[in-house]
Symmetry: C2
DNA sequence: GTGCTTGACGAAATCGATTTCTTGCACTTT
DNA sequence: AAAGTGCAAGAAATCGATTTCGTCAAGCAC
């Protein structure tokens, strides 16, 4: 890899001039040409590490998501990536497994790697954004918020919960349960509140045990569904607060030999790659990609020096009935 | 962020000593303690950028995949990540969209960022590994190989194709078509050859048009399936060479009102999150995660200075019949 | 006691860019 | 003509670590 010094030597100028050529500063036409020719000839690419050390910043955005295998988050990542590319930034995607320790570790890396900013879906309320914050690096929370004063992009989770539940009520179901995520995660908490609001307002039957907490994964959804089916008076429909848990719930229904046409299922999120789902499945589409794109836009604005007051952007989910893209 | 100089000043030693403490060199007990205390007190973390500039290398692995939204590749990424973590390495995940230009761009970034090594699924045969290679950074090709002399981990694609097709034959299907990926990609080429070998050996009926090429995505699979169904004498079964195309094919079947029980479908790959697939769907499990883990292991060995001759590890796919994990 | 080895450790060079000073020259301005 | 202004461009400092080199003292052999 050629260095700026070799280019300078070949072009017969000082290294400073070479740097100026590549950073848009005032250099005479004459020397510009000399430098560019020399650079071309040597196949010179500026060394990012050296530049970063000097400038104390880079063109890399760190994206922290809890589960890279969840299509919701990969779609979100695509949104971030597309937007970042447009501005010449690269994205580093890191998987936290919803583990605060891993999360902290990546945040420290982001800091010591001089990354330009961080977009994250916090694993818990206790995220320590101290290190990043003290460096003055911008942070945008996405999908979930944090107690720290940072910009955020989220979904109107309660409205989504309301929409999903209402759809089930209107489809004629009267004993609607809810499979929510782990207690304490705001995102799922709000969705569950949406459910609660509707079942209360519509005076549908709610029994003890109709609210199940599960981890966000397929197995959690399945276990929760089984628990619901084991109730003395089981529900006739269920709202699941994320996509993977819905899959688990549908699997459990299938195993129990229940015809999905007879059991209402509403999902907050999309069922990825699903073959025609039973027509009673209601999907509330979460704009994952758009969420990512918006977060990236906000982050880039901050990186660019924008100092307007903190913002929280709330995106609305749209309800979709099957057959969706079919 | 505290620097090594501040720590040195506080501990009353030279910066060199501080560095030595954190790099396992000979330092007296006494000063070790002094330095560690000082570091602790200041919350010192070594600046990775400076270190990288000096050492001309980092602890970051670059992983290039063609489609981050394909569960096959996220599983692979998990494998890489898990292994990397064990050795204290971080993984940067980049999406090439099967676009050689994007790929090249990322490879250049990997080079100028002094990343420790690269694991990639090449978008095409024309990948230019020149830049990376000339830096002496190790590269491991995964899932697909390249003409460049690098280590590789792949799947026995032909065997997988054979297994899938054979299963259909044994299930009694006699007009078996194949939906392959884009022509020219070795990975899909081999799988298709497996199909060809079996249909030839078993003398099943093969018509013009029974081999369809498609992009690797859902829409491609659907279009190909529709083309097959439009044939005058359509097939009674199909082998699809990747997971997403299978989804598309199944969608097309559904739209055409064909009962999936009557139409044989075999997939090279797993159908993610699928509700109980029609019992005639044969899935050949591709060990994606393991593929990633193996590639990471090989790369880390090279990074560690291993100079054994080039290796190509071939992993065998295992055939699975539904209901799989259900 | 002299000479030699060994080990701890400080001084200074180094990685490769960016950026601040400075210098020198051309060109106005009065 | 002297002084002031502006601008291109080189010299050198800087970012924060690692590493080479050299010094000094302790330990050991003869």
């Amino acid at each position: 890899m050629a260095t700026i010094y070799e280019v300078a030597a070949l072009a017969g100028v000082s290294p400073a001039t070479v740097s100026r050529v590549f950073n848009g500063n005032t250099v005479s036409e004459e020397k510009q040409r000399l430098v560019r020719d020399a650079a071309q000839q040597l196949g010179f690419t500026p060394n990012k590490t050296a530049r970063r050390l000097r400038k104390q910043s880079s063109e890399i955005i760190c994206l922290l998501v809890p589960d890279i295998e969840n299509p919701f988050f990969t779609a979100l990542a695509r949104g971030v990536e597309d937007r970042a590319q447009e501005s010449g930034f690269s994205v580093v995607l890191c998987n936290t497994d919803d583990d605060p320790a891993k999360e902290l570790r990546y945040l420290q890396i982001a800091a010591s790697e001089h990354m330009a900013g961080v977009i994250l879906s916090p694993a818990s309320d206790e995220v320590d954004l101290g290190a990043i914050a003290s460096l003055g690096r911008p942070v945008v929370a996405v999908d979930r918020t944090t107690p720290y004063p940072v910009d955020a992009v989220k979904i109107d989770n309660r409205a989504a919960g309301i929409a999903a539940t209402t759809a089930l009520v209107e489809a004629g179901f009267r004993r609607i349960a809810c499979i929510a995520g782990p207690a304490g995660i705001e995102e799922t908490e709000d969705r569950y509140l949406g459910w609660k609001q509707v079942v209360t307002a519509r005076k549908t039957l709610v029994r003890d045990g109709f609210l199940q907490h599960a981890n966000f994964r397929v197995d959690g959804g399945r276990a929760a569904m089984n628990a619901l089916l084991d109730l003395v008076q089981p529900p006739d429909a269920v709202v699941t607060t994320n996509n993977l848990m819905a899959i688990g719930a549908l699997q459990a229904l299938h195993e129990a030999g229940i015809d999905p046409e007879d059991f209402g299922v509403a999902v907050l999120g999309e069922l990825p790659y699903l073959l025609p789902p039973p027509s009673s499945v209601v999907q509330v589409r979460l704009p994952a990609r758009h969420l990512g794109r918006t977060a990236a836009t906000m982050l880039l604005e901050r990186i660019g020096g924008d100092t307007q007051p903190l913002r929280t952007v709330v995106l609305r989910a749209e309800i979709a009935r099957p057959p969706l893209s079919l």
